[in-house]
Symmetry: C2
C-alpha cells in the first residue's frame, strides 16, 4: 500500500495522530508566560535600532532624543496593555481581535481586522527570522553574506517542525525566553552599572562614526522636532507587536484563565517597556550610532558596510568583543527570535481555520493534517513568509516598514470594537457596581482606541512611501478576496439546499455504452449496463479511423451481440465532442430523461504504463459532467499489473464452464 | 464552447482539416526531385569542411590529400546510390530501410534500423539547423554569438510550420534547392574558371594561417596516411546522409513511381558527388584551410576565433567579400539547409506512426492532429532536435560525430536485408531473364552492404571517442524501449481478448452512496441509485469531524430517508482509505458480487472555483478503480456557473408541485 510519496511524507511528518489524541494540558503561568511571550518580548531585540534609525535622520546630534522617543513608545505600550486586559476578560475564548471586531463591528470590521492579522502574521515570521539572521550574522559573519538563503532555510525548518505538529509546549519553549531575559538584564544591568555606578567611559565602536542627517537639515526646532519624535514613535511602536498573541492564547492558561492571562500580559508589558527604555538609554550612554542609510549617512562607509545590530554593539561594548558574554547575548537573542517566529505558526493556522470555518477562506484551511495541525495553514504561512524574505532580501528595516501598519490597524479596530462592546453591555446592565467597572473598562478601551488610532495615523504618514502602501494594498486585496470567497460559498450552499420537494428523477434511463474495441472491459460494461435495467441500451463508437471502425462493426456482428451499435462520425478525428453531441441529442429528444454513459476502462498499475494508453476517457468524463441529466459510470477492468495498487484480491470470475448463466444474456425483467 | 486554450491552438495551428480532405497530388519529377533532394544535396554544404578538418590533423601540408578523400567518398556514394535504386524498385511502398530490414531480417533487424533512423532524424534536424546558423552567421555576425538561441528558434519555427501541416509541396519547396544548385554551380564553376582558365592566383584568406597537426606528427607515410584517408572518408561520408529520404518518398512521385524515384536518386547522387569533388578541389586550389581545433592548431588564434564555413570562404575568395555573389551563395545555402531540416519533419512522424502502428511506440504517435499531420511525432522530433542543439551548443562538428553512425547502421542493415531479399526471390523465380536481373541486383546490394559495412567500421573506430558512443547508447536504449513497449501492448492485448465464455457478472449488485452533506447532489444520487434497482442500497459517510457527522445523522433522521446511513470512523481524518476498506469489506462478504459506488458531485464552472472545493472525490475515484468488481458512478449536479461549459440546456426538474411522483420514493419493482 505504501507509495513512495507516502514514505517521504512519513519521514518528514511522522506517524499520523488519531483525532482523539489528547490535547496538551493547560499551562501554569510560569511556563505559559515565557512560551507565549517570545513574540512580544523578542521585539525588544530590534525596536531600539528602529528608534535610533528614525532620529538619525536629523544627523548624529539627534541621537540625544532617542530615550524620549522610547519613553513615548512605552506610554503607548502600557495603554495598549491596559486595553487588552479588558479584552481578555470580556472575550476569554481566544478569538482575539477578529472575534471582537466581528462581534461588535460586523462582517466588514471583522474581515478588515482579519486581513490585517493575516498579513501581519506573515510579516512577524519574516521580521523575526530576518532579525535572528542578523544576530546570528554578528557572531558568524558568513551568515550575513548569505542572509536570504539562511532566512529561507529557517522558515523551511519552522514549516517542517510545525507540520510535525509539536504539541509539547513545555519547558523547552520557556527556555529561550528566560535565557533572553537573563541575557538582556545582565547586559543592560552590567552596562548601566559600569557607566553610572563605576563611571567607566564606555563607548561603542560606532560612536566614532561621523553621521550626517538626511531630509531634515541642521537645527531641530519646533515642528521638525515634533515630526522627528513622531517618526521615532512610529518606528519604535514595533515593540508592541506580538502583544495580541497573548490575547489569543487565553484558553491555554490554567484557570482562572482570563485573570492569569491578563496578569501575564501586564507582566510582559512591564518587562518589555523596562527593557526598551533601559536598552535605548544604555545605547545613548555608550553613544551607539545606528542609521537608516549607512552608505549616505556615514562618512567614508564602503558599499558593503554592515551595521551590527544594537544588541550586538551593546554586548561588544559592555562585555568586550568575542567574549563569552557577547556570544551568550547574541545566541539568546537569535534563539528567542526564532521561537517568536515559531509562535506565529500556532496563531496563523488557527486564524485561517476560523476564517475557513466562517467560509471566508478555502475550506482546506480548516482540515487538520496527519499530526492534527492545520497543515495547509502552516504551508500558506511558510510560503508567504518565504516570499517576503526573498523579495526584501531578509532586510529587517524594510520589512518593519510593512509590518507595523497591520498591527495598529488590528489594535485600533479591536479597541473601537471593545468600546462598542461596553456600550452594548451598559445598555442592559443595571447593577451600579458592574456599571462602574464597565465604564472604567470603556474609558480604558476608549483611550486605547484614540491612542492607537493616532499612532496608526502617524505610521501611515511616516511610512507610507517606505513600503506601508504595500501592506495596505495586500490587506485590501485580502479583504476583497475573502468577501468573494464567502459569496461563492453562500451561493453554492443556496443552490445545493434540498428543496422541500425532492429532486424528480425522470422515470426513463437511457444507457449508452462507449465502445472502442471489442475487448473484456467492453463486454463487462455491456453486461453491467444491462444489469442496471435501463429503459434503452445502445452501444456507441466514434469513427476516427474508418478501417478500425469497419473491423469493429464486423466483429460486433460476428459475435451476434444483441445490443445495437451506433457509429458516430467524427470527420475531425475528435472523440469528446461527437460523444457530447450524441449524448445531448439523446437528451434533447426527451429532456426529462436521464442518460447514463458507461465507460469501459482498463486499469494499469504504473504511471509509465499509463503513458502508453490514451487519456481520452478522463477528458471525456470531465466534460460529460457539465451536461445536465447525465450520469457517468466507469467500468474498470484491472490488468494484472494493477493488483496490489488498491485491492488485495483479484477479480474473481465465475468458474469457467460452471452452470451460472452470464447476466449479459439475461433479458431485463419488465 | 471555445476555451482560451482552444483559441490559442486555432491561432497557432489553424482550422482543423477533415479526415477526407484530399491528399496532395503526385508530383512530376522536376518538382519532386528538388523537394526531396534538399536533404541529400544540402550535405554538400558541410561535407567539404569535414574532409578538410579530418586531414588537418596531420598539419597544413596534409590538405593536399583532401581531394583524394573526396573521391573515395564519391565512390561510396555511387555504390550506395546503385544499391538504393535496387531497394526502390523492390519496395516501392515508401517503407524504406525499416520495411526492408523488418521484412528480411525480422523484428530485431527492423527495430535496430528503426532506432538508428529515429536518432538520425533528430540529428538531421540538429545538424542542418546548426549548419544553417553557421552560414547565416557568416553574413550576420550577431547570429554566431547567439548560435544556440537562433538554432532553437529555427527548430521552433519548423515545429510550428509542420503542426500546421503544410500540404502544398509545390514550387515553393523546389526553389531553395534550385537556388542552392545554381549558387554552387556558379561559385565552383566561376572559381575553377578563374583559377584554371584564367590562371588567376586566387588564395583564400585562411591560406595565410600557420596550421599545425594534432596526434599525427610529421611525415605521412604508409599506415599513417591510410589511417588519415580513412578518417577523412569517415568524416566525408556525411555527404551520403539524406539519400534515404528519396527511398521513403517513392509514393509521392508520378507513375511509373519506382522508375522515376530511382532516376531521381541517380540524378541527386551524381550532382552531390560532382559538387563535393568540385568544391573540395576548388578549396584545395585556393588553399582554404579548415581545422578541427582552431585554438590549438592555428598559431596565434584567439579563444573566440571562429572559422567561417568553407562555402563562405570560397564565396569570399571567388566573388570577393560582401559582394552580391557572396550573399547569394550564403543565403541559398542557409535556405536549403533549413528546408532540409523541414523535410525531416515529414519523415520522422511517418516512421513514428509506422512504429506506433506496429505497437513499438506509444499509440499517440499514430494519431493525426487537427491538420492531418502526425502532430505528436512533430513535437517529439522538435523536442529531440532542440535538446541536441542545446546540449551541443549548435556545434556542427560535434553533432556530425554523432550523426553518421546511425546513417551507416541503417545503410548496412538495409543492404544486408536486400541481399536476403534477392536470395529469397531467387529461390522461387524460374525465369532465367528475371533471375539474371535479380543476381545483378544482389551483386550490387552485396557490394553496397560490404562497402557501407566497412565504412561503418571505420566510422566506429575513428569517431567512437568523439561522440559516436552517445549515438550507440541512445540507439541501444531506443531499441530496448521499443521492445518493452511492444511487450506491454502485447501483454495488455492478451489480457483483454474476450474469452469464448462471456464475462460473468454476478447477479447481486450492492449500491453504496457516498454522503458528505445532505444537499441536492446527495438527494439526486440516492434517487438515481434507487432507480438502478440494486440488490442492496446503503448510504455511507466518513466521520472526519464528529460535530459535522452528528449534524448529518440528525438531519438524515429528521428527513425520514428510508435508506440506512452507515457512519465509517476515520480516526486519522482520511477519506479515501476508510471508503476503500468499507467497499472491500462489502465485496469480501460475497466476493462474486459487484459494488457500485455512487459519488454525488457538484460541478463548478471555473478552475478557481474548483480550488475552493475539496478534490477528494477525484482521488477516491482513481483509487476505487483498482478494486476489482467495483463500478464508480459520478452523479453530477451542475451549479449555475457551470452552464455553457458543456451543456446548452439546464437541468430540467419536474415542475414544482406537479403531480409527478419523485422516483426516490418509488419502491423497486421486484
Amino acid at each position: 500500500m505504501a507509495s513512495s510519496t507516502e514514505v517521504l511524507k512519513r519521514l518528514l511528518v511522522g506517524r499520523p495522530f488519531r483525532s482523539d489524541q489528547s490535547k496538551p494540558a493547560a499551562l501554569p503561568k510560569r511556563i505559559a508566560l515565557p512560551v507565549f511571550a517570545s513574540d512580544p518580548l523578542s521585539s525588544v531585540a530590534y525596536a531600539p535600532a528602529q528608534i535610533l534609525m528614525a532620529v538619525s535622520a536629523a544627523g548624529g546630534a539627534a541621537f540625544v532624543y532617542a530615550p524620549w522617543a522610547a519613553a513615548a513608545v512605552v506610554v503607548v505600550l502600557l495603554v495598549v496593555v491596559a486595553s487588552y486586559r479588558q479584552l481578555i476578560r470580556a472575550y476569554p475564548s481566544g478569538g482575539g481581535d477578529y472575534e471582537v471586531a466581528t462581534t461588535n463591528l460586523g462582517q466588514a470590521g471583522g474581515l478588515l481586522v482579519a486581513s490585517a492579522l493575516l498579513v501581519d502574521y506573515m510579516l512577524t515570521v519574516a521580521v523575526s527570522v530576518a532579525a535572528a539572521v542578523d544576530n546570528l550574522g554578528a557572531m558568524v559573519p558568513v551568515v550575513t553574506s548569505h542572509r536570504t538563503a539562511f532566512a529561507v532555510a529557517v522558515v523551511a525548518l519552522l514549516v517542517a517542525v510545525n507540520l510535525r505538529g509539536v504539541r509539547q509546549q513545555g519547558l523547552v519553549f520557556a527556555v529561550p525566553t528566560y535565557a533572553f531575559l537573563a541575557a538582556m538584564v545582565a547586559l543592560v544591568g552590567w552596562g548601566l552599572f559600569r557607566v553610572l555606578g563605576r563611571d567607566e567611559p564606555l563607548r561603542a565602536a560606532s560612536a566614532e562614526l561621523d553621521v550626517s542627517g538626511i531630509e531634515i537639515g541642521g537645527g531641530l526646532t519646533g515642528f521638525a522636532l515634533v515630526f522627528l519624535l513622531l517618526r521615532a514613535l512610529a518606528s519604535g511602536s514595533v515593540t508592541l507587536t506580538g502583544m495580541q498573541t497573548l490575547a489569543n492564547q487565553v484558553p491555554s492558561f490554567r484557570p482562572p484563565k482570563s485573570r492569569n492571562a491578563a496578569s501575564a500580559l501586564l507582566t510582559v508589558g512591564l518587562i518589555s517597556g523596562a527593557l526598551l527604555l533601559a536598552t535605548v538609554w544604555l545605547a545613548r550612554l555608550t553613544e551607539v550610532q545606528y542609521v537608516e542609510r549607512p552608505r549616505t549617512q556615514i562618512a567614508g562607509a564602503t558599499p558593503d558596510y554592515v551595521q551590527a545590530p544594537v544588541t550586538a554593539q551593546l554586548a561588544q561594548t559592555v562585555f568586550g568583543d568575542a567574549t563569552l558574554g557577547f556570544f551568550l547575548v547574541l545566541a539568546a537573542t537569535t534563539l528567542v527570535l526564532v521561537f517568536a517566529a515559531n509562535t506565529t505558526f500556532d496563531g496563523f493556522p488557527v486564524l485561517g481555520a476560523m476564517l475557513a470555518s466562517d467560509r471566508y477562506l478555502p475550506r482546506q484551511l480548516h482540515t487538520r493534517g496527519d499530526r492534527l495541525a492545520f497543515s495547509n495553514g502552516v504551508l500558506v504561512l511558510g510560503a508567504g513568509a518565504t516570499l517576503l524574505v526573498m523579495v526584501f532580501r531578509a532586510d529587517v528595516v524594510q520589512l518593519i516598514h510593512l509590518y507595523i501598519v497591520g498591527v495598529f490597524v488590528a489594535f485600533t479596530f479591536s479597541q473601537v470594537g471593545m468600546v462598542r462592546h461596553w456600550n452594548r453591555a451598559l445598555a442592559t446592565e443595571r447593577d451600579p457596581v458592574a456599571r462602574l467597572a464597565m465604564k472604567r473598562s470603556r474609558a480604558i478601551n476608549f483611550a486605547g482606541a484614540v491612542l492607537t488610532g493616532v499612532v496608526l495615523a502617524v505610521i501611515l504618514v511616516a511610512k507610507f512611501n517606505r513600503g506601508a502602501w504595500i501592506s495596505i494594498v495586500v490587506m485590501a486585496v485580502m479583504y476583497l478576496l475573502m468577501r468573494a470567497i464567502r459569496q461563492h460559498y453562500d451561493h453554492v450552499a443556496r443552490e445545493l439546499t434540498p428543496l422541500e420537494q425532492r429532486p424528480v428523477l425522470p422515470a426513463r434511463n437511457h444507457a449508452v455504452v462507449l465502445v472502442s474495441q471489442l475487448h473484456m472491459p467492453t463486454m463487462r460494461a455491456l453486461a453491467y449496463a444491462r444489469a442496471t435495467r435501463p429503459d434503452t441500451l445502445t452501444a456507441v463508437t466514434v469513427n476516427v479511423d474508418s478501417t478500425d471502425t469497419r473491423l469493429l462493426v464486423s466483429e460486433w456482428e460476428g459475435r451476434g451481440l444483441d445490443v445495437p451499435l451506433t457509429v458516430i462520425d467524427s470527420p475531425y478525428r475528435e472523440i469528446t465532442r461527437p460523444v457530447m453531441e450524441y449524448v445531448k441529442s439523446v437528451r434533447r429528444s426527451s429532456p426529462r430523461d436521464v442518460v447514463t454513459v458507461f465507460i469501459p476502462q482498463y486499469v494499469v498499475g504504473h504511471w509509465w504504463e499509463q503513458l502508453l494508453h490514451n487519456q481520452s476517457a478522463l477528458r471525456l468524463k470531465t466534460r460529460l459532467q457539465f451536461i445536465p441529466g447525465v450520469m457517468v459510470t466507469s467500468v474498470p477492468w484491472q490488468l494484472a499489473s494493477s493488483t496490489g495498487k488498491g485491492g488485495t484480491d483479484r477479480m474473481i470470475r465465475g468458474p469457467r464452464g460452471s452452470g451460472s448463466r452470464p447476466d449479459f444474456e439475461r433479458e431485463p425483467e419488465t
